[in-house]
Amino acid sequence: MEESVLEVRDITKQFPGVLANDHVNLQLHKGEILALLGENGAGKSTLMNIVYGLYHPDSGEIYLNGECVTVSSPRDAIARGVGMVHQHFQLVEPMTVTENIILGSEVMRNAVLLNIDAARQQVDDLSREYGLEVDPDAIIEDLPVGVQQRVEIIKALYRHAKILILDEPTAVLTPQEIEDLFRVMRRLVEQGHSIIFITHKLKEVLAVAHRIVVMRNGGVVGEALPAESTEGSLASMMVGREVILKVPKGAAHPGEPVLDVSSLEVTDARGTKVVNNVSFQVRAGEILGVAGVQGNGQTELVEALTGLTRIGGGRITLGGQDLSGGTPRAFTEQGSGHIPENRHRYGMVAPYPISENLVLNQYYKAPFARGWGIRDYPAIDKHAQRLVELFDVRTPGVSTAGGSLSGGNQQKMVVARELGRQLSLLVAAQPTRGVDVGSIEFIHSQIVKQRDAGVAVLLVSAELDEIMALSDRIIVMYKGAIIGEVNAAEATREQLGLLMAGVHPTA
């Protein structure tokens, strides 16, 4: 048997209302890449946060190099040679790469002052040794996410980590950057490091892992070797039943164009064109999917199409009405609904009761308000009652604070508000992010229902599967522009992947 560098035995962790880890056992061997596969909420991150000392288990043991240990904090984990790269980078944006790497274990010139030159040299050496190319003097916020991730890995290596935990490292990367990361991972294990790679993407697991452990509902449900597995077999292990990779939907019957976007431009605070000369149409009764790696202008496109951000140029026409530069209310009044990608920021007011959240953008209209802006609370409650039932929002009552609902129910509340009225256009941005499987299916079916009712749907998602399952047509955004359009029925993952990486089909 291979040497085990990390082993967890019988780890259990209970959060209020959720059993996040239920007697979990796991072994990591020296020099291997272990993929920890599972849906959102399967308990992967909780388990790794326990290993990294961020959470403390209710019961169970952790063994490092055969020795039973208590990891009380990340500090402790780092001291024991465990490094973790979080999904959200732990980097100080306005500081340099070197400053970030040495933070907490500084290279000193004397008792007070830093020795930045020596530190820079060390960073340079590490980056060369592992092929993690990075400029030690660059400011973090000026770097692309892929490079920021390299900084995180160097940060762990600088602290002599032998075990690396990578939490969903590919979520924010382009296919090219993912390849780079895999190359680095292979090189690291060659040099004696061991890696736990958390993901829910089947293709990546098959491409890079030596061994696969699948988690579901807080427990380990199986183990597999890539050579003996297929995407299908892994998927059914992950979800617990045959996955419906296709959302049941009939053929689309597109009607007249509802949304017409021409030469749209959006400029960010730094003066960069984040949406560049974008033109497309969405017809009544069709779903247009917008694919792309996160951060290629999709967020800004949605904000422009809902009035949340000022446009730099171009025209937006909705139902024949020119809405270029219109306010969010102008869009709502014109029959546009918007499921925002960040529901906590835009989609809801957490301390407000569900009933108030359900009229968030309708509060001023009859029957919710009478003349002179006097609100009608009974009407608001009645409306909320109806939507909560219709959209299956699980809550003790409509006066419960929106923020106290679970993620899936919060999202259903947002969906209920937007779909609960007559729409001509629906802009759905990451409509199922951070939502449990059951709610995903429900939300997907609701979106298709809207399409079948003749609503024009613009679906923006970072999940390629979601885009492919729901869309009738797909456009791909790359660096703020539309790099290509494909018919969803004929689209392949490879074709879309190339477009997302900026490779033109003609090239």
């Binding site: 306010t327 957490a350 407000y352 953008n361």
Partner: protein, 393 residues
């Protein structure tokens, strides 16, 4: 174990006690610490507090004084509380108060012969507008220039103070011109103040046979508190303001014009502080002199928080603070303890009311054997979102 009796009682009294408990404990703790300060500096707190109590409630005259002090406190407390609801920190109530004062006085000393029914409301309106302008400037600076309201309102306080001093300036011997509102008679004796406002602009006294110089302003203050509560809870404007305060992004999404709402909230907050100045001038002082600027600085903040930013809580808190300030002079006279100790107590009230956790710790220390009840559901005051002075742009 709870007896059935207490469980039956609970619904009736628990909510009231739950709401009042924290502010009252904060006040108590502040008085205790204030007593410690007095002991350290060689004063007798018992004599002082007895004097304070007498000065605040000991006679009809004392009660009148408490009510008189409470009137402007209600308005400035509402001003700060209202801004809190919109997520703004109005630290500029004193400047807005002064602008309200001087605008009301300007109308009050002019327009002789106007009927009372027009002159007085006109003067009050002028006060509201003066304060609203001053608050609105801070709102405008925040929304369109990104200047944090704390810095801009403080600067506006100093500017307002200089401005009103100029308007009543008696003039100088080296050819300095007197201010436009300066009373020539007083100026001849080098006294800077306005003339008395005309009879027709004054707010009439309330039950003068019972109270001493209490005026109808107290009823106006309570009515305005109810109005503010109604606006916040029952109107779409109130919903817009609260939503902007809770989550400006969601407000934008909801189609609310966030900048305009913030500016409007700041103007309304300013108008309330300006109303305090107007009522003070037209109901009590009948004129303006720079030394009247006195004690409306940060009291509004303490009162707003002591009242849990609820308009009716603000009214109660104002009477409490009014009794402290009203009793202070009697206390100083009786016990020789400087009345400024009240300002110390007020700062402590602010500290305790903003940090209920301190009170909990004290409770735990005292009732060591008993778990301090209801810690989790103590209403914590909702105030402006956290963040720095870097502005909003």
């Amino acid at each position: 174990m709870e007896t059935p009796q207490t469980t039956q009682k609970k619904p009736l009294f628990a909510p009231i006690w739950k709401t009042l408990r924290m502010p009252l404990l904060a006040l108590l703790a502040a008085l205790v610490v204030g007593a410690v300060v007095m002991v350290i500096s060689g004063d007798n707190p018992l004599v002082a507090y007895w004097g304070l109590l007498q000065g605040a409630f000991g006679s009809l005259e004392a009660i009148s004084r408490t009510i008189r002090k409470a009137i402007p406190f209600i308005f400035t407390g509402l001003s700060v509380a209202f801004a809190f609801k919109a997520g703004l920190f109005n630290i500029g109530a004193s400047g807005q108060f002064l602008m309200g004062t001087i605008c009301a006085a300007a109308v009050g000393v002019n327009f002789e012969g106007l009927p009372w029914i027009i002159h007085m409301p006109l003067a009050i309106l002028a006060g509201i507008l003066g304060g609203a302008l001053w608050g609105g400037i801070a709102g405008w600076l925040k929304v369109w220039k990104g200047a944090h309201e704390v810095i801009s309102t403080i600067m506006l306080n100093y500017i307002a103070s200089l401005f009103v001093s100029w308007t009543v300036y008696a003039g100088g011997t080296q050819g300095q011109q007197p201010g436009p509102l300066s009373d020539p008679v007083a100026a001849a004796r080098a006294i800077s103040q306005t003339r008395d406002v005309f009879e027709s602009a004054r707010i009439p006294p309330l039950l003068p046979q019972v109270f001493d110089r209490v005026h109808w302003g107290i009823l106006l203050a309570i009515a305005v508190a109810v109005l503010i509560w109604w606006i916040l809870q029952k109107t779409t404007l109130g919903f817009e303001i609260r939503t902007v305060g809770e989550n400006p992004h969601a407000a934008q999404y909801a189609g609310i014009r966030v900048g305009r709402t913030m500016m409007l909230s700041m103007a309304i907050a300013g108008g309330l502080a300006g109303l305090a100045g107007a009522v003070e001038t037209l109901g009590l002082n009948y004129k303006f002199a720079p030394e009247f600027t006195g004690s409306v600085g940060f009291e509004g903040i303490t009162i707003a928080l002591l009242g849990q930013t609820h308009p009716l809580g603000v009214v109660l808190a104002s009477f409490l603070m009014g009794s402290l300030y009203g009793g202070a002079s009697k206390m100083q006279f009786d016990s020789g303890v400087p009345g400024e100790i009240i300002q110390v107590v007020q700062a402590l009230v602010l500290a305790f009311v903003a940090a209920p956790a301190i009170i909990h710790e004290i409770q735990r220390l005292i009732f060591r054997n008993r778990q301090s009840a209801g810690e989790e559901d103590t209403p914590t005051v909702h105030i402006a979102p956290e963040g720095g002075l870097g502005g909003t742009k």
